[in-house]
Symmetry: C2
Amino acid sequence: MISESGQKTAVILLSGGMDSATVLAIARQQGYQCHALSFRYGQRHQIELSAAQHIAQQFAVKQHQVIDLDLSQLGGSALTDDTIAIPRQETSGIPVTYVPARNTVFLSIALAWAEALNAMDIFIGVNAVDYSGYPDCRPEFIQAFEKTANLATRAGVESRPFSIHTPLIEMSKAEIIQTGIKLGVDFAQTITCYDADAAGLACGYCDACRLRIQGFREAGIADNTRYR
Amino acid sequence: MISESGQKTAVILLSGGMDSATVLAIARQQGYQCHALSFRYGQRHQIELSAAQHIAQQFAVKQHQVIDLDLSQLGGSALTDDTIAIPRQETSGIPVTYVPARNTVFLSIALAWAEALNAMDIFIGVNAVDYSGYPDCRPEFIQAFEKTANLATRAGVESRPFSIHTPLIEMSKAEIIQTGIKLGVDFAQTITCYDADAAGLACGYCDACRLRIQGFREAGIADNTRYR
């Protein structure tokens, strides 16, 4: 859809972390009118939603929706189950912080909103380089979802295809940080930590923190993350 | 997963309508231990959830979860927006009762639960013959979703594929009714109508009612639906 202001419209998955903040900045730079979508899904680091709200305001999104969907009801992840500890060291294989099918669920709801808005563009901050072994961050998953989206909706009938944009998919964390800085992302506002406390202070030890710390180091940029 | 009782485990999408009730009966007959999944998604015919509860009990499901997910926040359908009237006559193209990406959203959440349960089988009552022009009831959509599911999850890494079962996909409504009757489905308990009232009484005029009435007629079976 082209909005009244002549801009293309997009739905942006916005968690409040550094990756999705950078994706929103990229979509704005590309001229999209942005509709940001966040989830209160039973995550232990729900404080990320206040980060998402700040970032959405800073980048002047048209609308920011927070959807309530309690994935903790379904179980299966340390991110939604307080009885499973967040690992503080690197683990092999798919980590316990993997939330079953989370990106499929989030993309599906983004698709529902995009279709209702008549927007054909969806942005998600998945990353295949510095990712933590999550299967739903891989390019082949995104391609399969895009194909599904175009069969699932009016698009399949009307031949106006959806695009799933993954501008970070081939970037290192350092490149994401450099890109975000250029586009005005205030990374101090973003919350990456899986175990962030109620004040938004990061643990500094979980997978997400370790990748973030390493990213700032490699980018040669001072890390202004607030650790506890 | 094989349960303690030696049964295979499946997740069944259960709306409370005649199709999903028949699907649950089929899955039970095939020997699955069934986990039924319903959604309070802002549908105007929310009374269907009490039908789902009855059916789940009748077929002795292991667990019945009702997920709250307000799709009316996202707009775009007469089923979730009281200001758009439910058509009482046949319309051409994709009808206003289509809910954007609904089956993709429901299947994604079923996938999340299946993965958490270690169940590789998901059942959904889509139907490509007597369907109402919904793109997300087509076989090609189901195939694409199944492929996506297997890239999205541990399954893709561990080579234990998910199957999306659609036992009704090639059946007429009359065949669905005949199958359900044979397997003990009490269709008087099911709610099909898009505009069912709080007592569960059907309108008799909407798309869903028309297909149901025609199905009973073609099956040569007395229609015990409660109309208002």
